[in-house]
């Protein structure tokens, strides 16, 4: 942990300057930290309450980044990366649970988990993830909005800050994305 902030900060600055490799190195570091934070978080939250992802990412940010060395806009970059990661994490987990539900061997799944969680939530996650890839081909910004809002749980204002657009624009994009994705998924399933 001792040298991590150094690395992350360096990589974040590098990525900010357009170094693509920096992102590849950054992802696993941030991923680990987010996993740790997520695990911690869950215990604190009441069931039924929304996990405060902003706080979670904030925490990861504070822990990983030497803030004396980065600019304000790096924070937005960081949120962007974190959103991508949250999406990956979610999709990974939804997939693994999905496998379990379809008869995957020795993993014990409680009744509640199998009937409720997997069906409702995880299928949505997988379907949305897939549909979102299509959306990104047509409208990258709109897909980004979904990534930040749905996968990372950011508010309209926070999303606006990260993407450097107005909250009104975020709202418009979000409405359309909801309509579009909902249609995609409904069509798929029918």
């Amino acid at each position: 942990m001792s040298e991590t902030p150094q690395n992350v900060t360096q990589l974040l600055i590098g990525w900010g300057k357009g170094d693509k490799e920096a992102l590849d190195q950054l992802l696993p570091l941030v991923y680990d930290e987010l996993r740790r934070q997520a695990a911690r978080y869950l215990r604190r939250e009441r069931p039924g309450h929304t996990l405060q992802t902003t706080a979670l990412i904030h925490e990861a940010y504070i822990r990983l980044v030497d803030q004396k060395r980065v600019q304000w806009q790096n924070r937005a970059h960081f949120f962007g990366i974190a959103a991508q990661l949250m999406r990956r994490i979610l999709v990974d987990h939804a997939r693994s649970r999905h496998r379990v539900k379809r008869g995957g061997s020795d993993v014990r799944v409680s009744l509640a988990e199998a009937s409720l969680t997997v069906k409702a939530r995880d299928l949505d996650v997988l379907a949305i993830d897939e549909a979102l890839d299509h959306l990104a081909q047509v409208d990258e910004r709109q897909a980004k909005v979904v990534e930040l809002r749905f996968f990372s749980g950011l508010s309209v204002e926070e999303t606006a800050e990260v993407l450097q657009i107005s909250p009104a624009t975020v709202k418009r994009e979000w409405s359309m994305a909801k309509a579009w994705l909902h249609r995609e998924i409904s069509n798929d399933q029918s």
Binding site: Y41, L56, I62, Q67, I89, A94, L181, R183
Partner: protein, 995 residues
């Protein structure tokens, strides 16, 4: 999915967005117009609009929660040497229904702790876990000598919850009962201590719920500790409707189940709501079993036991044992009333009855000693002096603190009287004051730091962040913590010098603070951005600080102490330092601020400043609230009488402008608490426990505040040849031992605040035979025994102010020796036992040394002009040593040696700047009269150093590498007794549970 061109997409997006704003009818018309002949476009938009109607809740709940759920891992067994945060595992000491327990070493505080993990099956229930953490945190605020202290409720890095507790060496009451029968007086001694622990917990709103012999520890010295407060809640179902035996669900051995069932109250057995009276019942069962040898309700199976609890009357104890006192029978019967309303309503009543019975039996045996035999019972008490010395270090009101030695006690009767009196008073005051009603009536306390090194804290206006100052190894650093997470960032890394007066700017974007460079009396105001930017702190004003920033963020107010004019100035300036104005002035001893951190408060409209004005009368310093209107300069004082408050911290106004929060100590009370004061002069304490609270900052919505909770743990050690490797600990527990004095008959006399006030005690040098020599509610400190072993002199405020008193060696026949205002302290005998030297605060804050005959009379001054502190006579009777400076501002402290024969100073020695000299800095001669020994703090570690009379450079005597030294003295033969330990200061968040 059909591929669309970018242009089509943009068109569709625009039309869709526009159409969303319109009513159905208008929508159709709009689409007709906007799409024209383009049916593909029209279809696309209509399809999206249709989909949108069905997508109301779609994706509105972020998916993140379900992912986090999957990230939980199970904990694995820990091995010796492994580290959990700053705890190093020594060995596993327990495993059971309540999880694994390890003995561990706290590597920061160097103490042993018990580390307890929750069992997996309980961990996976977040709701239950949350309740557990709440309970444990609540229990961790309990400070009572008979309650096993919870140090920390924490989580490992991978998220496994644990608690760390005081490690208790001893055996459980169950083990004690298994080893042989218990006599009535022993049973009473144990019961009284358990009852006192419960009483303290109940007062704090915590019900134990699971009192049983397994949860009662008896230390080797007979001291009783009650374990696992509130943890029982964890194993209960939340709403056990229609369920009986709610605590029986724990998967555990049958014996354990039986054990639990036997102590269950009827209401627990029925699964209905329980309150503090359930503990009264369980204690009744425990007492019954201790004496009768078996519990009152027995059965073949847990169900039989439960049936007996609910339905049957227990057999009289007399049926098990002869000669049981009828009174004991009555007490137990009253505790075991099935109807809660017929039981003891408060465990305190039961404690009083038990104690009275204990007394009666003692008198029967005619063994009541003249001085109360106290064993090692004064352990357990915590806190303060050093903590406020720490505040002291941040200086300024030199004399005021002499009043602030604070105490606590375990003499429940005394305490009960005090707290009942005070409680009545607060209540009476509160009744008149709507301003302070309704806020912080019920509080939730969360410890935000646990390493014990926090000295100041502030909370951001939105309640999201806490910034605090950490003092470690003699250096201070500024930290930021996000409350909702455990994220901690060091904003300014550790450096020399002192910080004080942390404050967030009203918009939360900056933290303002005062900083004084090492060896510099001048406090500068700085600001640093709260988040994200690596900016260097900016000095905002050339004047002294720290400052309080106005609500509009444009101005700041601060108090400047002018030592030459001996006056305080309340100043207002723009935040850039321009337009500085003096708005009020006070000449000493009246003061506009207690110390550098006691900053004023702005009203919401920035019209008025409120501060704690220090006043002075014959009974010492106290503060009132003071307001000044910045336009009209109209001043108003709000008296807080009849309570007299000391040691205010920063003043914060609540949003309605009528409530004021600050920390402060009521004169005569043990510790400073956080107070809610009304602009009508009313007062109610928010905290009320045996910790010492300093500094308090509140959020804008007054939903929460942060403060620093200080606690002390110290013990006595005996060291041969000053070699600390040969030290022997002679007291055990959480004690407070001050002003050690090794007597001619080879005992150690000391002051401690363990009896409800500060009193003088003695103890044998092997730790046995502790006796209390003075008693009463007033404060007695600084004992010094005459060379002929006939008298003890000490300073006491029993006449109102601190004066020198003399008693016989056994504490009898008190005689007041001085009566000069404001006060006299630190007496020490002349070699012939005929006169007493002491330190005298004179009006106007100067301090000099005087002497008075052991029979009283008029004192005479012995020290030359200038300031002189802490007289000590050399064992050979030739010299008087003391701290001295020439009295000018910032002049250096030196050691002075005066010949008692000529009363002339024969030598002066410089000391290292790392020696902090203040009004109570101890000084002792080495046993061979060759040098003066004092405490030198280097890199945060305190050691004894000696200045030999031959003028050679000071030498280090001890080589401790951790913890503080509270007092020390040598025997005639050179054995050193030393009081060492730690003072912890942690940031606690107090949330208003009523909000």
């Amino acid at each position: 999915m059909t591929r669309v061109s970018l242009q089509q997409w943009q068109q569709a997006k625009e039309i869709f967005t526009e159409a969303l704003q319109l009513s159905d009818a208008a929508q159709k018309e709009f689409l007709d117009r906007a799409c024209g002949e383009d049916t593909a476009l029209r279809n696309e938009v209509e399809s999206l609009l249709n989909s949108y109607q069905h997508a109301a809740s779609f994706m509105e709940v972020p998916a993140v929660e379900s992912a986090a759920e999957s990230l939980l891992n199970e904990t694995s067994q820990l091995t010796p040497g492994q580290r959990i945060k700053h705890y190093e595992i020594v060995e596993q000491i327990g495993e059971g229904g309540m999880g694994e327990v390890y003995l561990a070493r706290d590597t920061i505080l160097g103490r042993r702790v018990a580390l307890k993990f929750l069992p997996g099956y309980l961990r996976s229930d977040p709701d239950r876990l949350r309740r557990f953490q709440q309970e444990a945190r609540a229990a961790s605020t309990l400070s009572h000598p008979n309650v096993c202290v919870i140090h920390e409720v924490g989580e490992t890095d991978d998220g496994h919850p644990f608690i760390t507790m005081e490690y208790i060496e001893g055996r459980t009451l169950r083990e004690r009962m298994n080893s042989g029968s218990i006599a009535v007086n022993e049973a009473l001694e144990i019961s009284v201590q358990v009852a006192e622990a419960l009483s303290a917990a109940h007062e704090a709103g915590i019900v134990h719920r699971d009192i049983k012999p397994e949860n009662i520890m008896i230390r080797k010295d007979g001291y009783v500790k009650v374990l696992d407060f509130g943890l029982a809640k964890l194993t209960e179902h939340r709403k056990p409707t229609g369920m009986t035996m709610s605590t029986l669900i724990m998967p555990s051995s049958p014996g354990a189940v039986m054990g639990t069932a036997a102590y269950m109250s009827p209401e627990q057995a029925r699964g209905v709501d329980v309150d503090a009276r359930t503990d009264v019942w369980s204690l009744g069962v425990v007492i019954y079993e201790m004496i009768a040898g078996e519990p009152p309700f027995v059965g073949e199976t847990p169900t039989d036991v439960v049936v007996a609890i609910v339905d049957r009357e227990p057999a009289a104890i007399a049926e098990h044992l002869e000669n049981v006192p009828e009174e004991l029978e009555r007490i137990v019967r009253k505790a075991l009333r099935k109807d809660q309303t017929l039981r003891y309503q408060f465990v305190k009543e039961m404690a009083i009855d038990l104690r009275a019975l204990q007394k009666d039996l003692e008198i029967d045996r005619s063994t009541a000693p003249r001085s109360r035999e106290i064993g090692s019972r004064q352990a357990g008490v915590r806190k303060t002096r050093a903590a406020f010395e720490r505040t002291n270090r941040i200086r300024s009101l030199g004399v005021g603190r002499s009043k602030s030695l604070a105490f606590v006690g375990i003499a429940i009767a005394v305490l009960a009287v005090i707290s009942i009196t005070l409680f009545g008073l607060y209540k009476w005051k509160t009744a008149k004051s709507p301003a302070i009603v309704g806020r912080f009536q019920r509080i939730n306390v969360t410890k935000l730091t646990t390493n014990g090194s926090a000295i100041y804290a502030a909370i951001s206006p939105d309640g999201k962040y806490v910034s605090y100052i950490k003092s470690e190894g003699g250096k201070e650093s500024l930290w930021l913590r996000q409350i909702s997470t455990t994220a901690n960032v060091e904003i300014i890394s550790a450096k020399d010098g002192h910080y004080a007066g942390l404050m967030f700017a009203p918009d939360g974007n900056f933290i303002y603070y005062g900083y004084a460079a090492p060896a510099d009396e001048v406090w500068q105001i700085y600001k640093v951005p709260t988040l994200g930017v690596g900016a260097t702190p900016v000095r905002v004003n050339p004047e002294e600080g720290p400052a309080s920033i106005s609500r509009d963020g444009k101005r700041m107010a601060f108090v400047r102490f002018d030592r030459t004019k001996r006056a305080d100035f309340l100043k207002v300036a723009n935040v850039d330092g321009s337009n500085e104005q003096i708005v009020a002035t006070r000449s000493w001893p009246e003061r506009l601020s207690y110390d550098i951190s006691a900053t004023p408060a702005w009203t919401n409209n920035d019209q008025t400043l409120t501060l704690a004005m220090i006043n002075n009368d014959t009974a010492g310093f106290y503060f009132n609230l003071y307001e000044i209107d910045l336009d009209s300069r109209a001043e108003k004082t709000i008296p807080l009488a009849p309570l007299r408050f000391e040691q205010p911290s920063r003043i914060t106004l609540l949003p309605d402008g009528n409530g004021i929060v600050t920390s402060g100590k009521v004169q005569g009370a043990s510790f400073a608490q956080v107070w809610l004061l009304g602009r009508d002069g009313s007062a109610r304490s928010i905290t009320n426990d045996l910790s010492d609270y300093r500094d308090a900052g509140v959020t804008d919505d007054a939903a929460a505040l942060v403060t620093i909770q200080n606690q002390t743990l110290a013990n006595l050690f005996v060291v041969q040849n000053n070699d600390v490797r040969n030290q022997k600990q002679i007291t055990f527990g959480l004690g407070r031992y001050f002003d050690l004095n090794w007597t001619p008959d080879n005992k150690i006399v000391y002051a401690s605040d363990a009896s409800g006030s500060a009193d003088i005690f003695e103890i044998n040098s092997d730790g046995t035979g502790a006796r209390q020599l003075t008693s009463g509610v007033k404060r007695n400190y600084a004992p010094s025994v005459s060379p002929d072993n006939r008298y003890i002199v000490f300073h006491s405020n029993r006449s109102g102010t601190f004066q020198i008193w003399r008693t016989d060696r056994d504490g009898g026949n008190p005689v007041q020796l001085t009566n000069t205002t404001p006060e006299c302290n630190w007496p020490t005998f002349s070699p012939d036992s005929k006169s007493v030297f002491f330190q005298h605060f004179e009006p106007g804050n100067s301090v000099s040394l005087w002497k008075v005959s052991v029979d009283g009379g008029t004192p005479s001054r012995v020290s030359p002009p200038g300031t002189a502190l802490r007289p000590v006579v050399s064992p050979d009777g030739k010299w008087l040593g003391f701290w001295q400076n020439d009295g000018a501002a910032n002049s250096k402290w030196r050691l002075a040696v005066m010949s008692l024969e000529t009363e002339k100073i024969v030598n002066r020695f410089d000391v290292s700047p790392t020696v902090h000299v203040q009004w109570d800095t101890q000084l002792r001669w080495t046993f061979d009269s060759r040098g003066l020994a004092y405490v030198d703090t280097r890199s945060g570690v305190q050691n004894l150093w000696v200045q030999l009379l031959d003028g050679s450079p000071p030498k280090q005597l001890t080589s401790f590498n951790e913890t503080d030294i509270f007092s020390y003295d040598w025997s005639r033969t050179g054995t050193l007794v030393i009081s060492r330990g730690v003072i912890t200061g942690d940031v606690v968040l107090i949330a208003d549970a009523g909000k």
